[in-house]
């Protein structure tokens, strides 16, 4: 039987002012009905462009080069006139885009947007189209679809918008669905729901699906076959199980190894892939991965390997490896010489009963009083010197608000933050600015955290100038020292930030934070904007610097694996409250709070068996509005174990082990005692 979709020698060139970018280079694959094919790789490797090329949706300057062929059910799509192609798009091949915030038209109702492809392709009446829209919206799990047809996108949450996008794609019953990073912009809990939905729809509607993702965990659980792409080409192509257990291409191997995993020893350094993917305007001769490959020989640099292999397992490599690397590298993570003591005599940082509320603009009905967003409602935590505290939770749970309070960028409405015995809330003006030396922050976005108009040297010197540290000569020497410390060449001081890659910029940000030899660095999503291969480099660097400087970190991340890898203790936040605090092992192996357990379950693990085994379990629903948080336990609306008591009574933190506390009436572990844990005990550390 001929495959449903057959792609042969697909080559996409994009003309830019810098030259011709060979975004997709000679890519061939097939897709059978009812199958999910994963396209995996780092950003810029041509995954998305492959998806767009299939649909004939090329960016300005883009063109398919001769020899490219895409056949759907035996019908050649390349070269079809635009009129004909439009009939295919949205009808036979549909696409789900990455960002649900921008992919919907904010001025049209969702009913209208979902009905649009039906109207375009089926030539039915508006009423029929609206019926079909209701039907598909129900299919994707939008509650009360008929009533919501007239809603506008801004009235829906991110997860619901993603469902609407999927409904739009499904409305005309396509045979091939291309999902381009459909869950990257979503929280893990919502991601799990959306992925389960896609898998379910695929079997029910017997569609074929192309899942484009950079996440090895998502790949493991939701694809049948995988194409690993690198620099516009397919590096390896095989069945999912085979790929994870017996990959042959070194790129696949390194990519998988560099992803931090929940089930790995955080004391082993992550293996990294050095360097960055090649520039596609001038792809190197020979194997494109050669420059970053540990097995590369002269042959790799001279001759380009063919994508061949036994049976269906094909790979383009001269020196294929076999199977995955052992978890973690052999190198042990350096830990601070003075390991965090179990009970620090004096904590470095202590936060007590922090409350932060932001007024809601507009919507102030008379008599309803002031409406506020409850960003933080009574959070206490302590941090010892040299310790790493991880904060996890869904977006909107107050992680970032807490981080800003801890470094004094914002002031709490109630509660105190004490650093080394000084109450930060009492400091003003000059005194506060002086104290800031001890508290530094590492930002999420490497593109906006460095002033684009300053040279890197000036950026690193600025904190020294502000605090009047040393002469100009000494400051320059310090800049060179800092650059060396984060592994960048000294000449880098003369360059501007835009001349560095994302990972390098993140290192510069870390160097800047280090310039004042702080005691604490709050890292807000330090690696979430980076590619997996670069992530490992930055994570390893953070570990090394902690050891050499005796730093304390507060690491804020939605990625549990990252937090698990870096943190000694972890705090799980839900809607402005800390629901569970414990050592990394407490949280991962002995979670007491159902939310923690659900969150962990939702994290995709790059292992096909583990990933498939856990289908259908996780946290349902979405984060309630922080303007009207649920009474009692805030998690009760989504908790599988919730009972009446949870609505009436707010649970207090109870002790589950040394330094392990959780706030739940019906915990998954028996508590040590029924009395509330005193704040001092939860300070004790793991």
């Amino acid at each position: 039987m001929a495959p449903l979709l057959e792609v042969r020698n697909l080559t996409t060139h994009i003309r830019t002012r810098r030259g011709v970018v060979r975004a997709v280079d000679d890519v061939s694959f097939t897709l059978e009905a009812g199958e999910t094919l994963g396209l995996v790789g780092e950003s810029g490797c041509g995954k998305s462009m492959t998806g767009l090329s299939l649909m004939g949706l090329l960016p300005p300057g883009g063109s398919l080069v001769g020899g490219s062929s895409v056949t759907l059910d035996g019908r050649e799509l390349v070269g079809l006139p635009e009129r004909e192609l439009r009939r295919v798009r949205g009808n036979d091949i549909a696409m789900v885009f990455q960002d649900p915030m921008t992919a919907l038209d904010p001025t049209k109702t969702i009913g209208h947007q979902v009905a649009e492809p039906v109207l375009l392709h089926r030539g039915c009446t508006r009423a029929e189209a609206a019926d079909r829209a209701t039907e598909v919206l129900g299919l994707v799990g939008l509650p009360h679809p008929r009533e919501r047809l007239n809603d506008y996108p801004h009235q829906l949450s991110g997860g619901m918008r993603q469902r609407v996008l999927i409904a739009m794609a499904l409305a005309a019953e396509p045979r091939v669905l291309i999902a381009d990073e459909p869950t990257t912009a979503l929280d893990v809990t919502i991601q799990a729901q959306i992925l389960a939905l896609l898998a379910d729809l695929r079997t029910r509607l017997s569609m074929a699906m192309i899942l484009i993702t950079h996440d090895m965990g998502v790949t493991a659980g939701h694809t049948d076959r995988v194409n690993v792409m690198y620099a516009g080409r397919i590096a390896e192509s095989t069945g999912t199980d085979r790929l994870f257990r017996g990959m042959r291409h070194p790129y696949t191997q390194s990519l998988l190894a560099s992803v931090p995993r929940l089930d790995q020893d955080p004391d082993r350094q992550l293996p990294t892939i050095p360097g960055l993917p090649p520039d596609l305007t001038a792809a190197p001769a020979g194997c494109r991965f050669a420059e970053r490959c540990r097995y590369a020989t002269d042959r790799c640099r001279a001759e380009e390997p063919e994508l061949t292999g036994p049976d269906s397992h094909r790979y383009a490599c001269w020196h294929p490896t076999s199977g995955p690397l052992p978890l973690g590298s052999a190198v042990v993570v350096p830990r601070p010489a003075a390991a965090p003591v179990a009970v620090p005599d004096r904590p470095l940082l202590e936060a007590r009963d922090l409350v932060r509320e932001f007024p809601v603009r507009g919507n102030r009905l008379p008599g309803r009083g002031r409406r506020v967003v409850h960003a933080l409602s009574g959070v206490s935590l302590t941090l010892g010197p040299g310790e790493t505290f991880g904060l996890v939770g869904e977006s909107g749970c107050g992680k970032t608000s807490l981080g800003r309070l801890l470094v004094g960028l914002d002031r709490p409405d109630a509660g105190t933050v004490t650093l080394d015995g000084t109450d930060l809330g009492r400091l003003r003006g000059r005194e506060l600015r002086r104290r800031r030396r001890d508290l530094q922050m590492m930002f999420q976005d490497p593109f906006s955290s460095l002033d684009p108009r300053m040279r890197v040297g000036s950026i690193l010197r600025e904190p020294l100038q502000i605090h009047g540290l040393g002469s100009a000569r000494q400051q320059r020497a310090r800049v060179a020292e800092l650059l060396a410390e984060v592994g960048l060449p000294t000449q880098g001081a003369e360059l501007y930030p835009h001349e560095f890659s994302g990972g390098q910029r993140q290192r510069i940000g870390l160097a800047r934070a280090l310039a004042l030899t702080p005691k604490l660095i709050v890292a807000d999503e330090p690696v979430s904007a980076l590619d997996v291969s670069v992530r490992a480099q930055v994570l390893n660097l953070m570990n090394r610097l902690q050891a050499s400087h005796g730093l304390s970190y507060v690491v804020i991340s939605h990625d549990l694996a990252v937090v698990r890898y870096l943190a000694d203790r972890i705090g799980v936040m839900y809607l402005g409250r800390l629901v569970e605090v414990g050592s990394a092992d407490d949280i991962h192996l002995r979670a007491a709070h159902p939310y923690t357990a659900g969150l962990l379950k939702a994290v995709p693990v790059p292992d096909p068996d583990l990933e498939r085994a856990k289908r259908g379990s996780g946290i349902s629903g979405e984060l309630p509005s922080p303007v009207d948080p649920p009474s009692g336990c805030r998690f009760r609306t989504r908790c599988p174990l919730a009972r009446e008591r949870c609505a009436d009574e707010q649970p207090v933190l109870r002790l589950f082990g040394a330094g392990h506390t959780a706030a739940c009436h019906f915990p998954l572990q028996p508590p040590l005692s029924d009395t509330p844990a005193v704040a001092a005990t939860d300070a004790s550390g793991g």
Partner: protein, 308 residues
């Protein structure tokens, strides 16, 4: 524009594959990149060229081509262009070519002076308002709204009819009117800049508000400041001409393109074309040239943003 681009210029981005960064690339800053994009833009070069020629004409020209622009010589009135007077003479017997030079001087001086003062005042005011935000911002912006509510040209006419205008008096008046726009633009830019993480990073280091405004916000808003300044030059030159055209400009013996134009119009029906077309033409060319530069700067900065 793409046809004007050189084919595939050498890629100025650093080699992304290597961790080591080549020091020879150090000279390429973001500023240089903008300059490069600016120079590649043909409109910019044309605009700059015209402005340079006109500036030379107005400031160097009088040194080479000396004329008497003070004494009225009715015996030489309304002579048509010839060898003695390349562009003829006007009703008072002044040499038109020499008068164009003298008039251009005051126009250019005024334009640059107004652009400078409005940029400085507007930038500081807008940056402070945008950075502080909240109540301070609200009050500062309402002040601007109040000023903007005053119809500018009426105020100008009132002032120049009450006092004898001088060049610097008009500079002051125009500055008072046009810094408002610059302040608004800069404030808007600063509002988006101050949420950027590098501004928070500067606060985290213990940087003072003044430092953040001057070291981080103003340099990053430089683009909009330059663009608005360039357009201000063109606008001021036009406004001065309009005032002069209405007879409310600089009093004699001061020369001005607007005054020349207005005087010339009266004699257009007499066939004295040289009294009208030269001042009108040079006025239009000058204003267009400044607008070209402004547009090009705007585009150059956009290009820089795209390249990041």
């Amino acid at each position: 524009m793409s046809t004007l681009e050189p084919l595939a210029p050498p890629d100025p981005a650093p080699d992304p594959r290597s961790e080591t960064v080549d020091a020879s690339t150090a000279a390429r800053g973001s500023g240089r990149l903008s300059v490069r994009a600016f120079v590649r833009n043909r409109r910019a070069l044309v605009g700059l060229g015209i402005v340079a020629v006109i500036a030379a004409f107005c400031f160097v020209g009088p040194l080479l081509y000396r004329t008497d622009q003070v004494t009225v010589r009715l015996d030489l009135a309304d002579l048509s262009p010839g060898s003695a007077y390349p562009l003829g003479t006007d009703a008072s017997g002044y040499d038109v070519l020499g008068r164009l030079m003298a008039g251009g001087r005051s126009s250019l001086e005024l334009g640059f002076a107004v652009a400078f003062t409005t940029s400085v005042i507007g930038t500081l005011y807008g940056a402070v308002a945008g950075y502080l935000g909240g109540l301070v911002d609200a009050v500062m912006m309402r002040v601007i709204d109040t000023f903007l509510a005053v119809p500018g040209i009426v105020l100008l006419l009132m002032m120049v009819s009450m006092f004898t205008p001088t060049l610097w008096g008009i500079v002051l008046l125009l500055s008072l009117l046009s810094w408002l726009g610059a302040a608004r633009l800069v404030r808007g830019e600063v509002l988006t800049l101050r949420t950027r993480e590098f501004v928070q990073a500067a606060r985290m280091m213990g940087g003072t508000g003044g430092r953040i405004v001057l070291r981080h916000l103003v340099p990053n808003a430089a683009g909009v400041i330059i663009v608005s300044g360039t357009f201000t030059i063109a606008d001021s030159i036009l406004t001065l001409s309009a005032l002069s055209f209405l007879g409310l400009g600089l009093p004699p013996p001061h020369a001005d393109w607007g005054t020349m134009l207005s005087a010339g119009l009266n004699s257009l029906y007499d066939g004295y074309w040289w009294l009208v077309y030269p001042p009108a033409g040079i006025l239009i060319v000058t204003v267009v040239a400044f607008n070209l530069i402004g547009d090009a700067v705007h585009d150059a900065l956009d290009v820089r943003l795209q390249r990041r």
